[in-house]
């Protein structure tokens, strides 16, 4: 209870404080401290849930079970490491005149609020609040994406806003339909939107309405997940915002949106006897993987490249959850974890690399290993990890997903094989000369914060070789929950 309030309250308060205190040198420190406090609170909450089991709080308004608590912990953790990374990064941006004091103030404040909205979306039990939180997350990130006020960033932010706004409006319609269906069973009071209540009666919900609702919810939240063909905002928003924002967008927001989809899927699965929801998710997942793989090969901007890689991985996770079953769900959850850790680590490395070379163009970044081995190896290892090279965790989950798919959905495997192959070729052929090759000389005015990169990669490496028992137990419970 108190932990939940702390998890939500600290970033909210942090956002307000940062908004009020204005841009000073300490703002970045406050940002880190607030993020760290959030992380500690999340850790405590996690410990509570691990020991005591799922909990409902505040008149059933908040609900924590093994599925969302691990996402809360992950979100708070990546939020914290990103805040560490963002300090030198934004300082350099400031000194180079890309942002001014007012914008930096906006940035810090919005960063905290964004964390708040994500945590709210994860923790709430109310499908309506979930929607509100996700919409609020869109709003805060729109401001973050447009931070540089360049034509490109404005365009990206505008597209992001309109597409996600419209998308999420569909999700609201889906939520209304859900409410409409549940209200008969649960009454018009607040109960009809509470996930726990819905989950309890999901078998009796009207299938026709629910399938209709699921279409709206999937299209709505799917837009935020970045499922093809609803993904068009994603690469723009990732590429044009500040890199810490790209890191949290890719590493966290997509996860949270996918979380929403999965919550809805659980309800719909319970209500509809057919494999409708499964097939839909598998179809979207596969389409995303394939299309993203092809688009990867056309990228000239490093951040865009990894944005498409995020689409690809979201596709894989969606496919896994669509397939369902203990192993696939386990793998999907694991993949969510390792993807957000790896992808954010990559964005950290990319952020410093782009600052070092003064460009986001892939052709302009060369020979990082020679000039700054730390950034170069960070990028190289991160890329190999995200491409599914063992012994990193991404491989562990892809291993489970692919082997399961081979038996359960063999028709999908040729697509996956082709897509993963093309994705590998596209990404690696672009990253290899960036890390290797003849160096481009440049210096950074501040020491880059590379610790988060290696901490993330170390965790991912560990997850590939050894998943701590408590984490495994946790994933298993969550996998069971998802069904």
């Amino acid at each position: 209870m108190i932990e939940i309030l702390a998890v939500l309250g600290i970033p909210l308060a942090g956002g307000l404080v940062l908004a009020l205190m204005g841009e000073r040198d300490e703002a970045a420190i406050v940002n880190i401290v607030a993020s760290f406090a959030t992380f500690v609170a999340a850790a405590v909450l996690t410990a509570r849930v691990v020991t005591d089991g799922p909990m409902l709080a505040l008149d059933k308004l908040f609900f924590v079970d093994s599925f969302n608590v691990f996402l809360v912990a992950l979100t708070a953790f990546v939020g914290f490491t990103t805040s560490i990374f963002s300090r030198p990064y934004m300082r350099i941006e400031r000194e180079r005149g890309h942002v001014n004091a007012a914008r930096l103030r906006l940035y810090h404040s919005m960063y905290q609020l964004f964390n708040f909205t994500m945590l709210l979306a994860l923790l709430t039990n109310n499908m309506g609040i979930l929607w509100v939180a996700l919409e609020a997350a869109t709003l805060t990130t729109v401001l973050l994406v447009s931070l540089y006020r360049t034509p490109a960033s404005l365009e990206a932010a505008w597209k992001y806003f309109i597409l996600c706004g419209v998308g999420i409006a569909q999700a609201l319609f889906g939520t209304i339909l859900l409410f409409f269906a549940a209200e008969k069973l649960l009454g018009a009071g607040g109960g009809a939107l509470l996930w726990t209540e819905l989950d309890a009666v999901k078998g009796q919900l009207e299938p026709t309405v629910l399938s209709l609702a699921f279409v709206f919810l999937l299209v709505g939240y799917g837009t935020k997940v970045g499922l093809v063909p609803l993904h068009n905002w994603l690469p723009d928003a990732h590429a044009e915002g500040p890199t810490p924002v790209s890191a949290v967008l890719s590493g966290l927001l997509l996860n949270v949106a996918l979380y929403a989809v999965v919550r809805c899927k659980v309800l719909v699965e319970g209500a509809i006897p057919t494999a409708f929801a499964k097939n839909l998710m598998m179809g979207f997942g596969l389409l995303s993987v394939v299309v993203a793989a092809f688009l990867l090969s056309r990228q000239k901007d490093i951040k865009r490249l990894f944005a498409y890689s995020s689409i690809e991985h979201m596709g894989i996770i969606t496919f896994a959850f669509g397939m369902g079953g203990a192993i696939a769900n386990f793998a999907g959850l694991l993949h969510m974890t390792v993807h957000s850790l790896t992808k954010s680590a990559i964005f950290f490395a990319v952020g410093h690399a782009t600052q070092k070379c003064g460009t986001q163009a892939i052709d302009g970044i060369r020979g990082l290993i020679t000039t700054s081995p730390v950034i170069g190896w960070g990028l190289m290892i991160g890329t190999l990890a995200i491409l599914g090279m063992p012994p990193f965790g991404v491989f562990a989950s892809e291993f489970l997903i692919l082997t399961t798919a081979m038996r359960e959905q063999p028709w999908a495997t040729p697509f996956l094989l082709v897509a993963l192959g093309i994705a590998f070729a596209s990404v690696f052929s672009k990253v290899q000369p960036m890390a290797f090759g003849e160096p481009v000389e440049a210096r950074l005015p501040h020491r880059p914060a590379m610790i988060p990169v290696f901490v993330h990669l170390a965790i991912v490496l560990m997850l590939g070789l050894w998943i701590p028992p408590f984490l495994a137990a946790w994933y298993r419970q969550a996998a069971l929950l998802i069904g």
């Binding site: 109310n126 309506g128 609040i129 929607w131 509100v132 919409e135 609020a136 709003l139 729109v142 401001l143 447009s146 006020r149 360049t150 034509p151 490109a152 404005l154 365009e155 990206a156 932010a157 505008w158 597209k159 806003f161 309109i162 706004g165 419209v166 409006a169 569909q170 609201l172 319609f173 939520t175 209304i176 339909l177 409410f179 409409f180 269906a181 209200e183 008969k184 018009a188 009071g189 607040g190 939107l193 009207e206 026709t208 309405v209 209709l212 690469p235 723009d236 590429a239 044009e240 688009l295 056309r298």
Partner: protein
């Protein structure tokens, strides 16, 4: 077939008005008139919400009605008016698809939405269930409007109008969502419009116009 109670008939009437306004917005060429139509839609929405509240005794819907009235009839149109005056974009504008075609597509969408809503409406316990189809049609029409417009402001108005359709669905088909959710939605909409307002200025500052054709640089195709 038994006759519906008066309030239900009134709601159906307002539903029809909403749909009509949606069509009108789809066809409207002038920005200012578009805002007027949007305000009118908000008014119809508020009225219907109030009637639902009156007819069914769901008193929290009065709050919703009031909120709608303030937000969608006064506040948002006022903001938009101000924006247009400051940005000086009153003139007519071209569009992607011509009006008759748009209307034809719109009619097809309405038929489709009704078709989709009929089996669901049978299940509802509310008297106003048949409005679900209309609400869906409104959402679809707003969507269509957003697709066809090439300027930023009408696109946003389309977006807001879509919100209206959703709101109508919430109130008439289900007698309203829980209050906390509605407040949240309203807050989001308000903040969204404010942010968009800021955006308009920035876009115009960067591109000297609010034409969306300037916002087509980020792409993959050649």
């Amino acid at each position: 077939m038994n006759v519906l109670p008066l309030y239900a008939q009134l709601i159906n009437l307002f539903a029809a008005i909403l749909l009509l306004l949606s069509f009108a917005m789809l066809a409207q060429r002038r920005v200012l008139s578009l805002i007027d139509l949007f305000a009118a839609q908000g008014l119809a929405l508020a009225a219907s919400t109030a009637i639902v509240a009156f007819g069914t005794g769901q008193h929290h819907l009065y709050w919703s009605a009031g909120l709608t009235l303030v937000l969608k009839v006064f506040l948002l149109p006022w903001i938009l008016y101000r924006l247009i005056r400051q940005l000086d974009v009153k003139w007519d504008f071209e569009r992607l698809i011509n009006v008759p075609t748009t209307m034809l597509i719109g009619i097809v969408l309405v038929v489709f939405s009704f078709n989709l809503a009929v089996p669901i409406s049978q299940l509802a316990s509310t008297v106003t269930r048949s409005t679900l189809g209309i609400a869906m049609a409104c959402v679809m029409l707003s969507f269509l409007m957003m697709i066809t417009r090439r300027k930023a402001i009408p696109q946003v108005i389309g977006f807001l109008s879509m919100e209206n359709g959703l709101f109508f669905a919430a109130t008439s088909a289900t007698y309203g969502m829980p209050m906390v959710v509605e407040l949240g939605i309203a807050l989001d909409v308000l903040v969204g419009v404010l942010i968009l307002g800021v955006f308009f200025f920035q876009i115009r500052e960067q591109f000297d116009s609010l034409d969306l054709k300037h916002l087509e640089k980020l792409k993959e195709g050649e």
